[in-house]
């Protein structure tokens, strides 16, 4: 079962400069260095490639159970592997909602069966994600799925008392509340970033203040309770400022940004193309720039895809009726290269930190996010940053859904191979089985 590999001539992100060989054996990294010998190992010539620790996504919608027409654990983790991911946190907005040990355990087992990436379920904070009563968070933490990240996903835990209690309660088992920051009254019927574009298009505005107000409140609650808060998909310049302020106080606040918020802006909605409808919405160029700088500075800890597959009919409709969300697993690393690396804002060591080490630490994922060094589990992504920029074609994606906002956009780079505990899940850009 255990594969032996010798990866030749690869550059390790964050490692010593120059090409090295990586020997994989027994699911672990057995050796890293120049001229490693490994008789009997399968050789992969990795000249020009970068070795990153397997990517970790804190925010993935796998849609199973309930919306298997959009995605399944199998298709979603296949997409994850193709994107260089070895672990994903599966969001709780399934049907039934992942608010009991039974449901999270089912999702966890589906992930084990699929075998393309480790699936760690996110548990709902409240029963049914209705924001009324805490779900059995401890039961989800204690079950085999070992849930550590709790979120009501698109339904912000708006009730301040409930949010306080949730933050406090999960301290008992090292949990974190991942909040989708959206003040509900300020965003009733909201369709697009409140700004010049939305006003002109006659779409109800989603004001930045509705995100920032919740983040500010939650940071204060996290400080008061000494709890861990994780802010999902920050999308505004103001949010970055608030997170920076909270971190400067030493509070346990972390934050993520999506690939699409690092690259795309609200003016793309001008043709009412619903592929650009997402929550939080695409913002302005100034927000994109602030998010990039925040990620570079480490104020924003990590990139999380918010991969949100939808069937065609959920998007092929008038704007207001369309579902929110975009796919992202298969394009995330390429987008990060375009937005962060090729712009000189982040080096590959930084990419390894923001897309693997830090998200693994936030989600308490053992075995992931470790440096590419002997003794570490062999979770790796081999990436070719010099691959010529190619237009994204969602019809070729492993995801069941086609709602990629990057369709037709030329993005650099290519994920060449992915290894999960020493087993190749992707080789030469294709899933191995």
């Amino acid at each position: 079962m255990s594969e032996q590999w010798l990866i030749r001539g690869v550059t390790v992100a964050g490692g010593a400069p120059g090409a090295v060989d990586i020997h994989i054996s027994g699911g672990e990294i057995a050796g890293v260095g120049p001229d490693v010998t490994a008789p009997g190992a399968r050789v992969l010539d990795a000249g020009g490639l970068i070795a990153l620790p397997g990517l970790v996504d804190l925010h993935t919608h796998l849609r199973e159970p309930g919306s298997e027409d959009a995605e399944t654990v199998e298709t979603g983790t296949r997409a994850a592997a193709l994107g260089g991911y070895t672990a994903v946190q599966a969001m709780a907005n399934t049907e039934p909602v992942a608010d009991t040990a039974g449901v999270v355990e089912q999702i966890w087992r589906l992930g084990q069966q699929a075998g393309y990436a480790d699936v760690r379920p996110v548990g709902a904070v409240t029963v049914g994600r209705h924001g009324k009563q805490l779900a059995e968070l401890g039961a989800m933490a204690d079950c085999p799925a070992a849930v550590r990240v709790f979120s009501d996903d698109g339904d912000c835990v708006a009730d301040p008392l409930l949010m306080r209690r949730a933050l406090e309660y999960v301290k008992a088992f090292g949990g974190v509340i991942a909040q989708h920051a959206q003040e509900p009254r300020l965003t009733e019927g909201a369709q697009l970033n409140e700004g010049e574009v939305a006003s002109r298009l006659g779409l109800a505005g989603w004001p930045a203040a509705a995100e920032e107000a919740i983040i500010a409140r939650d940071c204060l609650l996290a400080a008061h309770t000494g709890s861990r808060l994780h802010v999902c998909h920050v999308s505004t310049a103001g949010s970055v400022e608030i997170v920076r302020w909270a971190k400067s106080k030493g509070w346990q606040v972390t934050a993520e940004v999506t690939p699409h918020h690092l690259l795309l802006t609200d003016d793309l909605a001008e043709g009412y193309d619903t592929v650009f409808k997402v929550n939080p919405p695409l913002r302005t160029r100034a927000d994109v720039d602030a998010l990039r700088r925040g990620l570079a500075a480490g104020t924003i800890d990590c990139v999380a895809t918010d991969h949100a597959p939808h069937p065609v009919e959920a998007k092929e409709t008038e704007w207001a009726a369309a579902a929110n969300g975009m796919t992202g697993l298969e394009t995330a690393l390429r987008v990060v290269q375009a937005a962060m690396v090729d712009t000189g804002l982040l080096d590959w060591a930084g990419v390894a930190d923001r897309m693997s080490r830090r998200p693994a630490a936030i989600g308490r994922l053992s075995g992931h996010g470790q440096p590419v060094a002997p003794g570490a589990p062999a979770n790796l992504a081999l990436y070719d940053p010099a691959a010529p920029a190619e237009a994204v074609d969602p019809t070729t994606h492993a995801s069941k859904s086609r709602n990629s906002p990057f369709a037709g956009m030329a993005l650099p780079g290519r994920v060449h191979a992915t290894f999960l505990r020493g087993t190749a899940t992707v080789l030469d850009g294709k899933v191995t089985r």
């Binding site: 298009l201 092929e316 704007w319």
Partner: protein, 315 residues
């Protein structure tokens, strides 16, 4: 001309003036004993209305019929739309029936835009959510030109001062008028309580004021927008009474207007809220003329979009 009329921004100054001039032409024909023209004979126009709007629907219907087109009324109520059929499937159905133009009224902004991706015929936006209502703006511009400059052909509305008062935030009429009137050279000022002014309105080609009395003294046209009572419950303003006091056009305020100034309203009116009955029924009011001009302008739009392509045009 584009194949579709979805936004007033689609129209260049020359195209807008062409529509106004064509309307003037048709208006003189409409005065003659034979009121029906054979121009669009053999073409099918579908009125696809997802929102109730008797006045706009009948206006388009009359326009198409006076050009001898076959008109199909497809209303959401009592059709498969009420059973949850998507806009996409409705579009495919209309397409399969063979339609040359679809007039669409829809509650969602962008619906006309979306429909235009799925049909081969022309799409005319008869109001989409809080986005646009371009034929309303055209009939308003036609009425202004008629009343203020004798309807002389070839002219725009250069230097005409237009004040639009009311719920600009939710108004597709205001959006289309700001775009079209500025294209035609008019100086537009929006007046509304700040809660009903769109975000980033300073980027629009118009001025903004909260003081109706100051604006009325220096305007050639005042256009009152309908204020829906449900806005009150959403805290846009404290009460209808306060709205009327601060932004309603009553006889006292009308007296502030220059002598030549006209009063417009796209209808339907809330008499006693944004406009007092004695203003609506005064000689300054163009409200009835706007309705009859609506048919004429929509005839011109259909004629120009369909290129006079019917059998009648060839005959």
């Amino acid at each position: 001309m584009n194949r579709h009329l979805i936004s007033a921004a689609d129209l260049s100054r020359d195209e807008a003036i062409l529509i106004l001039d064509t309307s003037a032409e048709l208006a003189s024909a409409a005065g003659r004993p034979i009121r029906k023209l054979p121009t669009l004979r053999g073409l099918t126009v579908v009125n696809c209305f997802y929102e109730d709007s008797t006045r706009t629907r009948t206006s388009f219907e009359a326009a198409a019929k006076r050009l001898s087109a076959d008109v199909i009324n497809f209303s959401a109520k009592g059709s498969s739309v009420a059973k949850g059929e998507s806009l996409k499937d409705t579009a495919l159905t209309l397409e399969a029936m063979g339609t040359d133009a679809v007039i669409i009224r829809h509650g969602a902004s962008g619906a006309a835009h979306t429909l235009a991706r799925w049909v081969t015929g022309s799409v005319v936006n008869a109001g989409d959510g809080t986005h646009e209502h371009p034929t309303q703006a055209l009939l308003d511009a036609f009425t202004m030109r008629q009343r203020l400059s004798g309807g002389e052909r070839g002219l725009g509305l250069d230097g005409v001062r237009v004040t639009i008062v009311g719920d600009v935030l939710h108004s597709r009429v205001a959006r289309s008028n700001v775009l079209l009137l500025s294209t035609l050279g008019a100086e537009v000022t929006l007046v509304a309580p700040p809660t009903l002014m769109p975000y980033a309105v300073d980027t629009w080609p118009c001025k903004v004021s909260y003081d109706i009395d100051a604006e009325l003294r220096k305007t050639d046209v005042v256009m009152m927008l309908r204020v829906q009572q449900e806005r009150m419950s959403a805290a846009y303003f404290p009460s209808v009474r306060e709205y009327r006091r601060r932004y309603g056009l009553d006889a006292g305020r009308m007296a502030l207007l220059p002598d030549h100034a006209i009063v417009m309203h796209p209808g339907p009116m809330n008499r006693g809220v944004e406009i007092a009955a004695e203003v609506a029924d005064s000689p300054r009011s163009t409200i009835v003329a706007q309705v009859s001009n609506g048919v004429i302008v929509r005839m011109a739009v259909l004629y120009l979009l369909l290129g006079g392509a019917g059998e009648g045009a060839r005959a």
